[in-house]
């Protein structure tokens, strides 16, 4: 089940939230069991096999945790052995389901063999819950005072708001919240923030990401027709699409967490505002970066074993991060590109940091570089790297990039702007085009929209900031005596969100244009 579906919004969400608090009134244990049942229903809704893989995995990991901090609590060697075994088992499970065909395909290619692909189903959320379970085992090993019940652990792994696409939550963030008495009760402050954040996320997903996706997918489907302007639109479009899509999911997850009175960690912080690639990774998929830092980079030695070893560690982390994103060489290449960019960034920093004779001019020049050029280079690099992430294979990615230089600047690819123009909101925008700009330069509307969205990403507040600012305004109203102004502000605010929510809901479906190009 996905958040942006009728069945989730009209059935799953209201029933699970209302049921949770109602049952919590009678029994806290009952509330937790109900929430677990909802989460498992969410997971198994599309394919019950997902549960058949998830449940044994949860039980086995809980057993490992029990061994680490229970049976072998005072035997450090055994604790370490069990932890390593548990981590390996999780990685093997992930490897079997996600990478076995990738492995076989590569073996076939290298050895010129014809081994049959396994074609196993890819269990929903396996990449995320595998990492969450690894973090659980390692944290248990690192802190022998940690403990939780099986029910708490099941909820920690399967809590449906974060199950499919994260954030990757640590047990120390989640399990203590389950135990807080105050969080068992409905709190309209949290619920309102949740609804606000969820609505923003849903709107970002269905109104922005899915709209851009129409143009991007259309372009990739008919790459041979793509012009230079079309290629620029594809590259920038996907950069924006993936941000609005993935961060929207995190917004919805965090909003849903609030509705259950649970704080989930932030996953995005305006990543395209980043000035350097390091900063980009501090802002993009924050909980994944945190996972790799804590559970891979530090154990490898981090930056404590010299400069060369640090660079190697960085490369390992990013290549594995690429592989985690998908079982294709293009993902590995994407990860490696980011790894190399991180190395270059580190190198520049190390070299410039060691210079002792900087005069005023060089400082000024450096400031100019840092404040203007560096963010541009970072953004362009991120754009180019996303092409490798999106493309079906490396040669397609190179094809897209080369079209920027060889595609011919004779306007936007017709197919792309036709698809884009069919979106209702874009049709409205085109009605406002009194200067007929879109007729003079076909498809220019797409470029305008993409540039506007780019500036929104770079210059405006993100969803978290918007939600916090809104909550601050409401909180301040408490101290205001001006009832009329307060009511109006509340009215406008709730009307805006109701319209945005409804608009997003009616945008879940759509009319597919069956474009048969001969006819």
């Amino acid at each position: 089940m996905v958040f942006n579906s009728y069945v989730f919004i009209f059935l799953m969400l209201p029933i699970s939230v209302a049921g949770y608090y109602l049952i919590n009134r009678i029994s806290n244990m009952g509330g937790k069991w109900f929430l677990l049942a909802c989460s498992l229903f969410f997971v198994g809704y599309v394919n019950v096999m997902y549960l058949a893989i998830l449940m044994p995995s949860i039980l086995i990991n809980y057993l490992f945790g029990f061994l680490i901090n229970g049976v072998f609590k005072d035997n450090n060697i055994r604790r370490k052995g069990v932890t390593v075994l548990g981590v390996v088992l999780n990685l093997v499970t992930l490897g079997v389901f996600k990478y076995s065909d990738f492995f076989i395909a590569n073996v076939n290619q290298i050895l010129k063999k014809d081994f049959t692909l396994c074609r196993l189903i890819l269990p929903l959320g396996i990449s995320f819950y595998t990492f969450q379970q690894i973090s659980f085992l390692v944290d248990y090993y690192r802190d022998n005072t940690l403990s939780c019940t099986l029910l708490e652990y099941c909820l920690y792994i399967s809590f449906y708001p974060q199950f499919v696409q994260g954030p990757i939550v640590l047990q120390s963030e989640f399990i203590p919240q389950l135990r807080e008495e105050i969080r068992r009760h409905w709190d309209s402050r949290y619920a309102s923030k949740g609804l606000y954040r969820f609505t923003l996320g849903l709107a970002k997903k269905v109104l922005i990401a899915d709209t851009i996706a129409k143009a991007v997918d259309g372009g990739y489907d008919r790459l041979s027709e793509v012009t230079a302007l079309g290629a620029v639109a594809l590259i920038l479009g996907y950069t924006l699409q993936i941000y609005f899509d993935f961060s929207a999911y995190s917004d919805m997850a965090i909003g849903l967490g609030y509705l259950f009175h649970i704080d989930l960690p932030e996953n995005f912080n305006s990543p395209y505002k980043a000035r350097t690639i390091d900063e980009f990774w501090d802002r993009w998929h924050i909980t994944l970066t945190r996972f790799f830092t804590r559970y891979l980079y530090f154990p490898l030695g981090g930056s404590r074993k010299g400069r060369v070893r640090t660079y190697i560690n960085i490369l390992i982390v990013f290549i594995l991060s690429g592989l985690w994103h998908g079982a294709e060489w293009s993902f590995v290449l994407w990860g490696a590109m980011h790894g190399v960019a991180m190395l270059i960034s580190r190198l520049i920093r190390d070299i410039s940091g060691s210079g002792k004779n900087s005069d005023d001019d060089s400082i000024k020049n450096r400031i100019a570089f840092v404040s203007i050029i560096q963010p541009c280079i970072t953004f362009i690099f991120v754009n180019v790297a996303w092409v490798f992430f999106r493309a079906d294979n490396t040669s397609q990615a190179i094809d897209v990039i080369s079209k920027v230089f060889k595609g011919g600047w004779n306007g936007m690819t017709e197919y792309i702007h036709e698809l884009f123009g069919k979106v209702v909101e874009i049709a409205w925008l085109l009605r406002l085009d009194v200067l007929n700009l879109n007729d003079k330069v076909p498809g220019i509307i797409l470029i305008f929209v993409l540039i506007a969205l780019m500036f929104i990403c770079m210059l405006t507040h993100n969803s978290k900031e918007l939600t916090d600012r809104w909550a601050d305004r409401i909180n301040m109203m408490t101290d205001t005596n001006e009832v009329g102004g307060r009511s109006l502000t509340l009215l406008v605010s709730s009307a805006t969100m109701a319209v945005l929510l409804t608009w997003s809901i009616v945008s879940l479906g759509g009319v597919t244009s069956y474009i048969y190009w001969n006819f």
Binding site: D187, S188, T478, L490, A498, Y514, Y516, N518, F519
Partner: protein, 391 residues
């Protein structure tokens, strides 16, 4: 003091939350209500406003459900320029047009089966409502003189589609929620901004501004640049050394044709023995035959056509009409905007011909029909088209 402040804050949030949720529910119900009332795809009832016929795969099922008619004209883009008014005038019928761009046998006959089935259902419901109690369909038909029941079907029978796999269809994402009777999945129709904006709001404006509804004549009709260059645009240069009969009709191909016809067409034909099915083989241009030539498939195509005709001419309620042998049309590339799409004048001529009972193919003459084509295209010098073909 702090508790009061907290309670006050909570009360503000309470209000905000309730207002937002209630407003959203009201808005959602409003959108649903408006879409049910106007029903731009005629899923629930006949049109109550002026309407626009568009989005074929969304609207055709509703037309078949709720319009009054006795004749269905159904086909792919080759049928889009047909005028129901002309056919009705020539034949005294009341027809609807159901165009499905790019559709093959599977999709067309499925849609047709649904349409005819719904009319039977309509009869059932009416008969159950009558004072005499439940009557069977045959009684009702004889009493009412078949009013509002499908009597004729004119359906596109593109031989190229008949030669395809029985399940061949061009798209994967059909609005099946409009095709079934499941009320729950109608949410995809009722909470749909495209339906709302391009359907409901458009129909309201059309009515308020006094604009007319789209006629079936205009529905999906088109005018495109025609001519030899356009007709030959997708064809490779003709090589005189090409073996035009490289590919032969294999046993597998025969099985495929048999299965296609018997899975998609025959069940509908046999289940509706009182319906007259007019299967119309549209006139493919010389450019299309040049395409068969280039692929070495002239023999394969003609043998496939002959086999398909041998089956289709077996049924009493089926009449096949073929226009491929009207060389004055097929050789006149000024009438084609690509290898297969002919202009509106040809569409008009086709209706004149079938209404007059000409170009009929039956059990007695189908071999002659194919042999005539074979004689012509096995000897035709397609290189004459090279002057229109760009490298």
């Amino acid at each position: 003091m702090r508790t009061d402040r907290e309670a006050n804050t909570k009360s503000i949030y309470d209000k905000w939350f309730i207002r937002t949720v209630v407003s959203a529910i009201v808005l959602v119900l409003l959108v649903m209500g408006l879409n049910i009332l106007i029903d731009p795809y005629f899923h629930y009832h006949k049109p109550v406003t002026k309407y626009r016929l568009n989005e074929e795969r969304y609207i055709n099922d509703g037309i078949a459900r709720n319009f009054d008619y006795d004749t269905i004209i159904i086909g792919n883009s080759l049928f889009q320029n047909f005028k129901t008014s002309q056919y009705d005038e020539l034949n005294g019928t009341k027809s609807i047009k159901l165009p499905y761009s790019g559709a093959g046998v599977f999709e067309l006959w499925n849609a047709l089966g649904r349409a005819i089935g719904r009319n039977e259902l309509k009869v059932d419901l009416i008969s159950y409502d009558s004072k005499d109690g439940a009557k069977n369909v045959a009684d009702y038909k004889s009493e009412t003189g078949y009013k509002d029941i499908v009597k004729n079907v004119i359906i596109c029978t593109d031989i190229e589609d008949v030669l395809r796999d029985y399940h061949w269809h061009r798209y994967n994402d059909y609005p099946t929620y409009l095709y079934d009777e499941d009320v729950l999945n109608d949410v995809k129709y009722l909470l749909n901004k495209d339906t709302l904006y391009r359907g409901t709001v458009n129909n309201i404006f059309r009515t308020v501004l006094g604009k007319e509804s789209t006629s079936f004549d205009d529905y999906s009709s088109w005018v495109r640049v025609s001519g030899p260059e356009a007709a030959c645009a997708d064809i490779s240069v003709i090589d005189p050394a090409t073996d035009r009969c490289r590919r032969k009709l294999s046993d597998g191909d025969i099985e495929k044709i048999y299965y296609n016809i018997h899975t998609n067409m025959v069940p509908v034909i046999e289940a509706n023995s009182d319906v007259k099915f007019k299967l119309l083989i549209p006139p493919a241009s010389l450019a299309k035959w040049a395409e068969h030539y280039n692929k070495g498939e002239v023999d394969y195509y003609l043998d496939g056509m002959e086999y398909a005709l041998s089956i289709l001419t077996d049924y009493d309620n089926v009449t096949v009409y073929g226009f491929d042998n009207e060389f004055s049309i097929t050789n006149d590339l000024n009438r084609y905007c690509d290898a297969i799409h002919y202009d509106a004048d040809v569409s008009e001529w086709i209706f004149e011909e079938i209404s007059a009972g000409r170009h009929e193919i039956n059990k007695d003459n189908y071999k002659d029909y194919v042999d005539g084509l074979r004689e012509y295209y096995l000897n035709y010098d397609f290189t004459v088209l090279n002057e229109y073909i760009s490298d």
